[in-house]
């Protein structure tokens, strides 16, 4: 009997993209058999080791499922159409906590300000960490432990020996591995419930929007000024809150930029001249300092998700590790800010290396595709903030 078999979209790679195949068969079993012998790999997609059809494979003859007919023994006539339809199912997951989750999160569930409602918010939240280094490490660890359901990590680097002094996501056995792979493994070890997206890429103007879009909150752990301004601008343009931090030798700073309530450029409209502020690689850093500051980033992120306490919106927290002095400075949105002000002049991502006056290192250029034409750096016309601010601390390393 001349019969048409419809190949479902996921199987078409096996049939050289044919959506429909003609076979000569008297029964469904014979039709599938013919398919399996003509197309390598088909059998493995249809049947388990014992030769039975996978439970999630539905076979229809015309409009009837074979379970309602004679199963694979169903007879076929000329012109019949056989359809292979894999099951369609999915969903956001359980509404109630599993026993494992109740145990795991018991200390959260006990807290009045968290409880089951708060824990559910954490499990439904998506957070992107830029950088799996000195700041990103503690932030990722604590967000994973807390049960933030979806974490993305952006880092193009490999684990280096010198990282181990502070980048606690990575261990000695990870040296040489991609940071995002090492990060993902550590996170999954702490909490297998977390969905982790490992983005082994440089963050740049060509991919920032695409990277940021699926996430609710951006946690900035970058270690250079171009990336800092890029992350800021992209967050503002996509209206995503950003939990920002920087460290420099013995000092740290943390702030939260909520859409509409100011951004990094409101504080620091222009980057420092190249070389004016040393990186961790140049000046060194006490390893535990980013541990504390990155943990504070995790804390602020959790507060934003849960809607509790007072996040550092409109405030800049400064921490002196040697004196254990904490200071907070009030900050405000600058109405003249070129990105988040009343009349933004920067509405697209620019060339941030050019903006910061730093030539791109050759390996960076190689890894990049051609970037969009730069629209030129912002003018440093914004007035200085009312309270004197510390030197910008660049490093998340």
């Amino acid at each position: 009997m001349a019969v048409k078999v419809y190949i479902p979209t996921p199987f078409r790679a096996l049939t050289e993209k044919q959506a429909r195949v003609e076979v000569q068969s008297d029964t469904v079993a014979a039709a599938l058999q013919e398919l399996e012998s003509r197309f390598p790999g088909m059998r493995e997609r249809l049947r388990d080791d014992k030769g039975g059809l996978f439970e999630y494979i539905n076979i229809y003859v015309n409009s009837q499922v074979i379970d309602d007919l004679d199963g694979e023994g169903t007879a076929l006539k000329d012109g019949d159409e056989v359809s292979i339809i894999p099951a369609v199912a999915g969903g956001s997951g359980a509404a109630v906590f599993t026993e494992e989750q109740v145990k795991r999160y018991s200390r959260h569930l006990l807290l009045q300000d968290v409880g089951p409602v708060g824990q559910r918010k954490l499990m439904n939240a998506s957070v992107l960490l830029i950088g799996a280094g000195g700041l990103g490490s503690p932030a990722a660890l604590y967000l994973a432990a807390a049960g933030v359901g979806h974490l993305g990590i952006v880092d193009f680097d490999v684990v280096d020996h010198s990282n181990l002094q502070r980048q606690v996501l990575h261990g000695t056995n990870d040296v040489g591995r991609l940071k995002v792979d090492s990060a993902r493994d550590t996170i999954k070890d702490i909490n297998p419930n977390i969905v982790v997206d490992a983005h082994n890429t440089i963050l740049d103007s060509s991919n920032a929007f695409e990277l940021f879009r699926p996430y609710d909150i951006i946690v900035n752990g970058v270690d250079n000024f171009p990336a800092r301004y890029l992350a800021n601008d992209a967050s503002v343009m996509l209206k995503k809150p950003m939990v920002d931090a920087g460290i420099n030798q013995f000092e740290g700073m943390v702030s939260v930029y909520q859409p509409g309530q100011g951004c990094y450029r409101c504080l620091y409209p222009a980057p420092p001249p190249p070389g004016a502020v040393a990186s961790c690689a140049e000046a060194g850093v006490l390893g535990v300092l980013p541990g504390i500051v990155g943990s504070m980033q995790a804390l602020e992120t959790l507060k934003l998700i849960l809607g509790i306490g007072e996040p550092l919106i409109g405030r800049l927290l400064l921490f002196d590790a040697l004196t254990m002095e904490f200071r907070t400075l009030k900050t405000r949105r600058d109405p003249e800010c070129p990105v988040c002000g009343d009349h933004p002049t920067i509405t697209e991502l620019i060339d941030y290396h050019e903006f910061c006056g730093i030539p791109q290192p050759p390996e960076l250029v190689e890894q990049r595709e051609a970037t969009a034409a730069a629209t030129g750096p912002a003018t440093a016309g914004a007035s200085a903030p009312a309270t004197p601010l510390p030197e910008p601390a660049p490093v998340g390393d």
């Binding site: 199912a89 969903g91 997951g93």
Partner: protein, 143 residues
């Protein structure tokens, strides 16, 4: 890149809102990277607030879209979680519909800022690729 005509985007939003707090689901048909057909299917899951499953009728919708010669994809809604494939979505779709277009709509911020619609593909290992989804104006004579 996947194009979604405005009329279908609006139909998706209406359908998702009418089904809330349950998840809604259905079939999409694509031609040359553009969604040209959006067919709701009944959500036959036992716990439709957090799961979706097609039933017989749903599979017949799939057959119809296939007969029309379109690439088949799937849409579903997350009433309270993000418009992103959940662990469940990944686990299921990586086995059954790998690399197919997944259109997702979330209503979690609907009251405050409107629905979120995104498109993805989930590969056979559960990895997610974000598709650049563009809402386009309906061409004259289609929609």
């Amino acid at each position: 890149m996947i194009e979604l005509p405005r009329s279908l985007a609006e139909a998706l939003v209406r359908h998702a809102r009418s089904g809330a707090p349950d998840e809604v689901c259905g079939v999409i048909g694509l031609k040359d990277g553009r969604i040209v057909s959006l067919v709701p299917a009944r959500n036959a899951a036992g716990t439709p607030r957090v799961r979706f499953t097609f039933d017989d009728d749903g599979y017949r919708r799939v057959i119809e879209v296939e007969r029309a010669g379109y690439e088949v994809g799937i849409f579903h809604s997350h009433p309270v979680s993000p418009a992103y494939p959940s662990a469940t979505d990944r686990a299921e779709m990586s086995a059954t519909w790998p690399d197919c277009a997944q259109l997702m709509i979330s209503l979690r911020h609907d009251a405050a800022s409107g629905p979120e619609i995104n498109a993805y593909r989930i590969d056979s290992r559960g990895g997610v690729t974000v598709e650049d989804l563009r809402i386009v104006e309906d061409a004259a004579g289609t929609g």
